[in-house]
Symmetry: D2
Subunit: 486 residues, 4 copies
């Protein structure tokens, strides 16, 4: 999910959005009544939209976009976000990242009111909830902030939202802060790297669940939306309206899986760079699971920071053992048995000189089903590795996620299978060790971050102090931040 508002032409928005399954963009020219333009399509942004469609976006200066990795609901165009509806107070558009833990109860509530729901997406549900309560009167002025606050009392998590109404966008993060949401600032190229931008400045703002996207469009990271916070973005700039609190004593619950796997390494969460957290996981893993071996290597490319961290901590030399085959595309005819058996060999080439006759520590970021790592080990052994020790830079995944991350069912997870008792034998490794939950939490909560040589400014020192205290580790521990069926 990536949300944008800026002074630049909305025709460029499409260049700022990237995703994997479906994509939507809605722009507004901010006038009264506002003219909205909506584009939706399946596939990567580049293929979902045609050039002639994008030209239709030219006239606005405000917009929200969404790309989707389907979690709930079927992958269909009608489920594609943002969701746009006409209400008595005008048209609103809503984009949503996450998954409402009490969606079933809320759907029933909405339908009891006589509303038919045309999709199974949370986005439509949220949109109809916003329209429903409190009752609308034609005479009243619209008070969307009150409606958003009301929504936040009806559902605790998990959602990061963007709500566009005429010339305003509201950026909302649930009280537990489960899904990320960051604010960036568009600056003229001439001033792109100058310092000193204030909240009142109105050059243009962008909001995204992945802060790494800011750099791609010439924006600078500004800050995170805080858990429970409602931020208003308009031509007057960015303004924090309020923070809806969690129940007394409840810690925040930012998804720890974003650090482990989901986010791009140059993203920043809670003031630290994801790459650095992964590198610390490697250090921690070397401490928890040291190995007698000759070289340390990585399953490219996601495990590389952890592998370099492991190499540094262990003192073993870091080498590359696999190179990626850039041209492996979709296999579009039924592959025969021969090619299926070759499996991973089509995706990776073995850099034999670097490990033949040696004992290899191979770092992976996570093992979900166990069927990717197995042929890699076989490939290395056959090309001459004498031992292959697998070290995993995260704990075993054992539980489903109900908050928007697409994790296989409990039965499919390797950590829940009988074979897990002899995982090394099962995947053909000399040995296998995982990072502990405590080790992961320590790696996540231990660090500080810098950008451009300066400590990152936080919204307030007190937030800074607590911000890394609470994380959702449900998929690793089964402890969910709220009771399910809330």
């Amino acid at each position: 999910m990536q949300y944008f508002t800026s002074k630049c032409k909305t025709s460029q928005f499409s260049q700022y959005i990237m995703g994997q399954e479906s994509a939507g963009i809605v722009t507004s020219n901010g006038s009264s009544p506002p003219a909205y333009v909506t584009l939706k399509g399946m596939g990567l942004v580049n293929s979902a939209f045609k050039a002639e469609d994008l030209l239709k976006l030219r006239h606005g200066n405000l917009g929200i976009g969404h790309t989707r990795y389907s979690t709930t609901g079927i992958s269909e165009l009608q489920n594609c976000q943002p969701f746009v509806v006409d209400t008595l107070h005008g048209r609103i558009a809503v984009a949503h990242n996450g998954e409402l833990v009490n969606a079933a109860a809320l759907r029933k509530k909405v339908m009891r009111h006589g509303v038919g729901l045309s999709t199974c997406s949370d986005s439509e549900l949220i949109t109809q909830l916003l329209a429903l309560t409190p009752p609308m009167e034609e005479a009243d002025a619209p008070d969307w902030v009150a409606r958003i606050k009301n929504l936040m009392t009806e559902t605790p998590t998990s959602y990061s939202l963007l709500i566009m109404y005429k010339d305003v966008i509201y950026a909302v993060r649930d009280p537990y802060g489960n899904r990320p949401l960051s604010i960036g600032r568009m600056v003229p190229i001439s001033k792109l790297h100058s310092s000193g931008v204030g909240e009142g400045d109105t050059e243009g703002w962008v909001i995204s669940s992945e802060s790494c996207s800011f750099q791609s469009i010439g924006a600078k990271y500004y800050r995170e939306v805080q858990p429970g916070e409602i931020v208003q973005v308009s031509k007057y700039g960015v303004k924090s309206l309020c923070v809806v609190p969690r129940p007394e004593g409840e810690p925040p619950a930012f998804c720890i899986f974003e650090y482990v796997y989901f986010a791009r390494p140059d993203s920043i969460f809670e003031g630290q760079m994801v790459y650095t957290v992964r590198q610390r996981c490697g250090h921690q893993l070397a401490i928890e699971a040291p190995t007698e071996a000759d070289v340390v290597s990585t399953v490219p490319e996601s495990a590389t920071p952890a592998a370099l961290g492991y190499a540094q901590e262990s003192g073993l030399p870091y080498v590359e053992v696999l190179c990626k085959n850039r041209y492996v595309g979709r296999t579009f005819i039924q592959p025969n048995t021969r090619l299926r058996q070759l499996g991973v060999a089509k995706k990776f080439g073995a850099l034999t000189d670097n490990f033949a006759g040696k004992r290899v520590v191979l770092i992976d970021d996570s093992i979900v089903r166990g069927n990717t790592i197995s042929p890699i080990i076989k490939l290395l052994k056959e090309a001459g590795a004498t031992e292959v020790h697998i070290r995993v830079a995260s704990p075993p995944i054992r539980f489903p996620c109900y908050m928007g991350i697409n994790i296989p069912t409990k039965e499919e997870l390797i950590a829940n299978k009988p074979e897990f008792t002899d995982i090394a034998g099962y995947i053909g490794a000399t040995s296998v060790r995982y990072l502990s939950v405590q080790g992961l939490v320590a790696a996540v909560q231990g660090g500080t971050a810098s950008f451009g040589g300066k400590e990152l400014e936080m919204i307030s020192p007190s937030n800074n102090g607590i911000r890394r205290l609470g994380h959702c580790t449900a998929c690793l521990t089964g402890k969910y931040p709220v009771e399910l069926e809330w």
Copy 2:
């Protein structure tokens, strides 16, 4: 709009549907809860759907489809019908043909209840109205017929509807009968042309706004849905549930334009074949506007029945003067001035031998803007016609339609332009004459029809007597069947 229910596999439904702008199909397996499958796409049915998608329809035996010639609303996939929603009483799907005359007031009513409307289509509006009133209670059994009756008291016209709920389809025609709706019967190929099918028989039923589609799929024409009638189609067959009456003294208002232009010539309305009505228009036109000439001809292909009627009545020989160029496709690069000037010459070839040196009466079915007929006249004159007399088999169109037919704005209609006072001079004809409104009405109301050599059975003799008394001639006379802003 074409609706179907039958015992045959729903995977075949796509072959039964044809249209020009967008297409949708929803099927149900009739079980409880029912599994619905929805397909929507832009373009002709054949290009809108992919073969692999159609395979998904295989499992049901009940379904509704819709194809769209956009009238209200923008041409977008989200406006594509049927509209499907989840309600407290389960999922319903609605397809709609027509245009609600009081849509604006009804939208406001629905939104005042706190419902956001995600499209500008009447179909969503109808669907939400059905869900809204009376209030739903989880304990109650669903009474969709009461809801449909309630809807019919809220909006007088113009709509033919199909509403699918679990294993039942309700076919509904508005009290004025403005849009057509016919019932056909699917029979085994072996019995395809046998006689004697009764209402209780359950071999399979299809409902369509164009009766001509029945033959294409091996069904026989059964009867029309009457104005105001709600017909239930289920595995027990077709059952008339009730007829919602019009206000005291109001005649029905079936769209006369269906006879003139819109319907395929082999369609049957009110017990008569459209081709025959058009031929009668030609006879009437020959009586009203006789011509001194050598040959009568047609603008192929829609004006041919009227031209043959004119030739018969006038005694002049019928010849062909134009042949169609089958390969004229979309012009996809900006045509240069030369080709634009050539205009209609790219679409038609002149059959010179048939008219060179002769006086031609050329019959057209209607003249809307006047820019198609003009180059045809020029082409004929330059190829040797000494006179070209235009005779139009319908009256001039002067008023907009608010009931679902896409007619240009008042300003664009040739009959409202200053040039109309010398229309012959404007389009380059030797003379121009139109059929009168009274002549058209007489041609429509005068006849009887036969199919397979037998008089068509009507639902009851009394209906038969009144059925051709009232027609909507609003686009010709400005007399609308209900007051606008009803």
Copy 3:
């Protein structure tokens, strides 16, 4: 095949070409050395080429195009014409319509010279033959006319050719005149219908195998290329270079099938309009095969001129009994048995009122396999026709064509099957009668033609006298114009 040369921009050429299987265009700017631009694609011209590709054609004022209905060779892009090669004397482009009767022997000859042939098309063979004989010397000036004459001594038929070299196009028709080739003249729109264009005039010329295409682009029919003639088209206009004669005593052999079926009705061959010839076939058929019946009708649309001719001669009234379903597209999922049995019912609607209870004479232009007419007869009978008499406006096809027309194999032709002895019983008709070969020849050779009210000017009176004396009737009689394996 359509060839063009004109003063207008070559970017427009694509709008002038239409076909069904593959299409190619080559343009030249006429400079020295000339810049050629080649476009080829599969499918109808409109889908074969993309708009951006067509822009590449903008810079020339000379070009040849080709569209293909595959006869010899597989339908592949590499077989797509025009064929362009570099020779010692520069680049030439060749387009070919027809089929060389001695292709096998010529291929061997070329290969014996050490040339590898990269396609199985006659176009490449012709191109290499032109390059091969006489031997090329760098010092010599190119003499393409001598090479073309030489080619014409090596192969008697069947070919109409267009050969482009730098700023000249040579239009060539084989000595037997088997395939058509006509010259048209592009005139400014302002003068489009003025009279008096002379051979020396250079406004722009087009050459096409279908004269009907001239009107579509604003050109006027000028004359045919004569059998054996080589015509040079350049900026100096059209110039007849020579006529290569047939062997002493041999008549010409223009394909009679072009009149019967292949050509568009507004095409002109040998000074007469195809529509008129077909109408004369109808007259002749009424004389040869009169019928006791109530109405005469047509299988739309190709048999309509013959049906009107039959009606006139017989005095029976002409009515329409079938209307075409415009939206029948490709069937893209495996149709089930039900729909396959329905067959033709999907393509035509029955106009019952016009024939129920009546005896119908149904005119068809030809019966090739007999599986199209059969379900039409069934449809008419079931809708109430008491008798259906089939009258075919051409003789039975019994023999294969080796000169470029795609006719089924001998075994597939209904006229060669045992069932032909009771063809009426086989197809379900009340009776079946064909036009005789003599009747067809008389209809073809009997008439005169007019265009724009004037007799058409012929290239010379003496040609005029003989031009309709010889026609190829090989598919009807088995008498081929040259011995096969020539």
Copy 4:
């Protein structure tokens, strides 16, 4: 270029071929006369071919494929290889990698013989040369080996060829060995990694210009085709037929650029792995151009082996400073100035924590135009790098390649521009140093290679001794292996 012959089904060939611009496959069933199947398409193999097309390849067990990075000639389908022609001795198919240095003279020779050339590709030229000399006689048995030897006397370089005729494939490398060509052996999966395969064994063989492709399809590297060698591949296995010698005293001239940039790192040339050569380049560069700095890093991913080599030799720590943005696709609307200025920022994310406040040595594999490295340096400096020293693991490119590698014109090469005198200033680096030509040659010629822990077997010890003595360094030194216009 990748060539294959194997016992496995040819339908799988498409899975074995990968490329960037166009692709072609020709298969043969080896019978007499052989049935060939040809597929050609534009784009990556996966998009160039449709699944239904690939099914056509099923019936053969012999085939050759080609993928193209256009060097000579325009990027058009007709230039797509393999080139297939019919000759007096039957059909042959030819695929070619490289560029004939004397193509212009050879084209003239062929055309003087009366052959028209339909493409500007060397493949057609080679094919026609093979057909032309010596003259073919129908009575003679075909002697393709003599024809190939004759061809090799007419053109010295640069070509690796595959020539398929009936059930035999000839693999040919030019006498200078300029382009690579390797033989691999397909073995049953069960025996995939067993040892001991001999030349007489016939399990299946593959030939490819990139040995790394063998692993992807379950084949093992066997050996290189030697410079000047003709190898015959048939059902009897692989057989070396002869080695056509270079002129007395001339060394071989394998393209050194394959090591530097073109080949995948897991490819093997001359008995050594490309990755290892690149790592040695890094070592050599550290010796030639040491730097005072804090960290060493890479421009991912091609420069990584050199960067690790530099880090090892220099003792400086290796870190990652850039991460790739996986979703950067084609930019399909005209990017505005803002986004163009952002340039490389869209492709890379800065991993700030790893280098902020530090002096960075950034290794690149080559600098061609200088416009990619410049924005990367800017990005690093703005994110906090205090110094950015560029070290290039190859010498400056100064000369064009006439042997098949697509290098910009002399004028575009940064090393030939005035700015090169202050290259550091021009690209914004703190300092810039290149590897010397001697250093590169030493890195290439110095090593030995192992695969699976064993020294690689060479075809003969004597070849082994000389094989790394001669390389083509023309693009770096201007010394071409043969005189141009040979």
